[in-house]
């Protein structure tokens, strides 16, 4: 698959970074600054993205091996580059993190009722979860409960899963030295307390920084449009949007579900540029949905807050939660999220 067309350099929306934000990690961010300065001379007319399609790399991935990534809700974080991380040391990291977790839990910092300290931490790599060969290997960390019975060989239940990846991370990779490993997107499933402990260990060990990755309405709209644009053999879920109305004395949620075939028909009618999605098309797609709604209910959805979008490809919530439903577009979804994560790090 050809390299990702991230031609825009200025922020798509929202505030630009303040100078104070840069004084976190001098080496890494100095390089980032240089890169940004180089890029700001070119301002494209409007952002555009390629419609996700099944990548060559992904074709080689065993769908069985990545099946566990689908149909699960992941909480998203951005992560700054890891300093002096080595893939050859992951067995060592497993042991160190294991010891750290047990120590933290015994300190009583994250005690849950009925907590079992019999756990096992496994670090591994996820092959094929990348955009180009330049992207580093995706990393998987799991906490399993150790089987109670000594005779049983098989591994216990998975208590917590976290994985790190970088899909088409060129813009970030170019700016860091070899001492750094770029895995800007982190996804976690399991108890918050475990996420916090593991996050702490990573931050201490690799001098990096996690930050929750929220998804604003602007990006949710883009996701809805892009995922609607994806060719599907059959639909497994309805296309649905959820808005939250802020002004009422009581909260009001408006859910707007549209048959996926009809959503696709609407998109096809709006879509002009083959293989790509443009800002104008996203805006028009959303405006059509708004106007159809307004015609019936006289309510301006655009004045409310879009909090969730859901399609047969994936669903995303503004709080930074994602669920990927379709193996075919796994990389495409991760690519967009990686872009958001990198943007947050900058």
């Amino acid at each position: 698959m050809d390299s990702y067309d991230v031609s825009e350099s200025t922020p798509r929306q929202s505030t630009s970074s303040r100078p104070e934000d840069y004084f976190i990690s001098a080496t890494f961010l100095q390089k980032r600054l240089e890169s940004v300065r180089k890029q700001t001379s070119f301002i494209p007319p409007s952002p555009r993205r390629k419609i996700p399609h099944c990548s060559q790399l992904q074709e080689d991935v065993d769908p069985q091996k990545v099946a566990f990534l689908l149909h699960k809700q992941w909480t998203l974080y951005s992560l700054t580059p890891l300093y002096k991380f080595s893939y050859s040391s992951i067995k060592e990291y497993s042991r160190l993190l294991n010891a750290f977790i047990v120590a933290e839990k015994q300190k009583g910092l994250a005690v849950e009722v009925g907590e079992d300290f019999n756990i096992k931490v496994i670090f591994s790599t996820l092959l094929g979860i990348k955009g180009t060969q330049k992207d580093p290997e995706a990393l998987l960390v799991q906490i399993l409960s150790k089987s109670q019975l000594p005779s049983e060989d098989r591994e216990g239940k998975v208590l917590w899963t976290g994985w790190f990846c970088c899909i088409f991370g060129d813009s970030l990779l170019e700016t860091v030295s070899e001492d750094f490993t770029c895995l800007p997107l982190f996804l976690a499933n399991g108890a918050e307390s475990n996420t916090a402990i593991i996050g702490t260990w990573f931050q201490k060990t690799f001098d990096c920084y996690f930050s929750p990755l929220a998804i604003n309405a602007f990006n949710l709209s883009w996701m809805a449009a892009m995922w609607t644009a994806c060719k599907m053999d059959h639909y497994v879920a309805t296309t649905e949007f959820l808005w939250s109305v802020p002004c009422s004395p009581q909260s009001l949620d408006i859910s707007y579900a549209i048959h996926p075939e009809d959503a696709k028909a609407l998109w096809d009618s709006v879509h002009k540029t083959p293989g790509e999605v443009t800002q104008e098309e996203v805006d028009l797609f959303m405006d059509c949905l708004y106007s159809h709604f307004h015609r019936h209910f006289k309510i301006h959805l655009s004045a409310t807050r879009l909090v969730r979008v859901s399609t047969s490809v994936a669903s995303a919530h503004t709080d930074g939660k994602i669920k990927i439903l379709c193996h075919k577009y796994l990389i495409g979804v991760l690519a967009y999220l990686t872009e958001l994560a990198i943007f947050q790090i900058e």
Binding site: T238, V245, C247, S248, P249, Q250, S251, L252, D253, I254, S255, Y256, A257, I258, H259, D262, A265, L266, S269, V270, L284, D287, C288, S291, H292, F293, R295, H296, F297, K298, I299, H300, A303, T304
Partner: protein
């Protein structure tokens, strides 16, 4: 000082354990330390409390001060003083709500959403107007006030138009929903099978004969109150769509809508 405030302070202090009382009063920081030192904390609690209330009276304690004391008692964690001072306003609002439930004799006001930024108007609503049924459209008052803070250079005719428009919306809303509290309803669902017709761009889905199949669901802890507030908030046009306003009339909340 209001009778109610005095009563509130008295009840709050009565709840405090004797061995914690001085610490709490110091944390409250309303009565100065040198004054606290003159108080005999060994006397009988009743007379001590009376003495303290008198001192508060002399210092003209307000409802805010009383609320602050109440919240300190609820949550005596003096290690968190800094955080507490930072979240003062939130704590104050919570305290006010607690205070009102205790001090007020009118139990129907218990369930109120005190999210207004205007504490004075809240106080006025509750203490002076608690004989009336609580009118929910008062929650739009802060919005109106906000909108009326327009640029003074703006044409005065535009300002007048805005006010007139807001009044019109209020009147229509009141006509539609009435002044009484709405029946409690939590959701309404609409199955739509209607053709797409857009005023934006005539060509979109123009050839398509089939309707768009949509399922719309409105949900809220109190749906009708929420819908009532949409037009005043500028989120919906007034008058509201008949699809929404017919809910209380038809006493149903599942609808199927098709093109005629």
């Amino acid at each position: 000082m209001d009778e109610t405030v005095a009563e509130f302070i008295k009840r709050t202090i009565l709840k405090i354990r004797m061995n914690e009382l001085l610490t709490i009063l110091k944390a409250w920081d309303f009565l100065p330390e040198n004054q606290l030192q003159t108080i005999n904390f060994r006397q009988r609690k009743e007379s001590l409390v009376q003495h303290l209330v008198r001192l508060c009276e002399e210092k003209h304690a307000s409802l805010n001060d009383a609320a602050l004391l109440d919240i300190i008692c609820e949550d005596v964690d003096l290690f968190d003083m800094k955080q507490f001072k930072n979240s003062f306003k939130k704590i104050l609002q919570r305290a006010l709500k607690n205070a009102l439930t205790v001090a007020s004799k009118h139990h129907q006001i218990v369930k109120m959403d005190l999210r207004s930024r205007y504490l004075e108007s809240l106080k006025a609503i509750v203490f002076k107007q608690y004989n009336q049924t609580f009118e929910t459209h008062n929650s739009t008052t802060p919005l109106q006030e906000r909108n009326l803070g327009l640029d003074i250079n703006m044409d005065s005719r535009i300002i007048h138009e805005n006010i007139a428009e807001k009044e019109r919306v209020q009147q229509i809303t009141q006509k539609t929903f009435g002044d009484y509290p709405q029946p409690q309803l939590e959701f309404a669902q609409y199955k739509l099978e209607t053709k797409f017709k857009s005023d934006l761009n005539g060509s979109i889905l123009a050839e398509r004969e089939e309707p768009l199949r949509c399922l719309i669901k409105f949900s809220s802890p109190h749906l009708l109150e929420a819908l009532k507030s949409l037009a005043p908030a500028g989120i919906a046009d007034a008058p509201l769509s008949p699809l929404l306003t017919c809910i209380p009339n038809k006493r149903m909340n599942y609808f199927k809508i098709r093109d005629k």
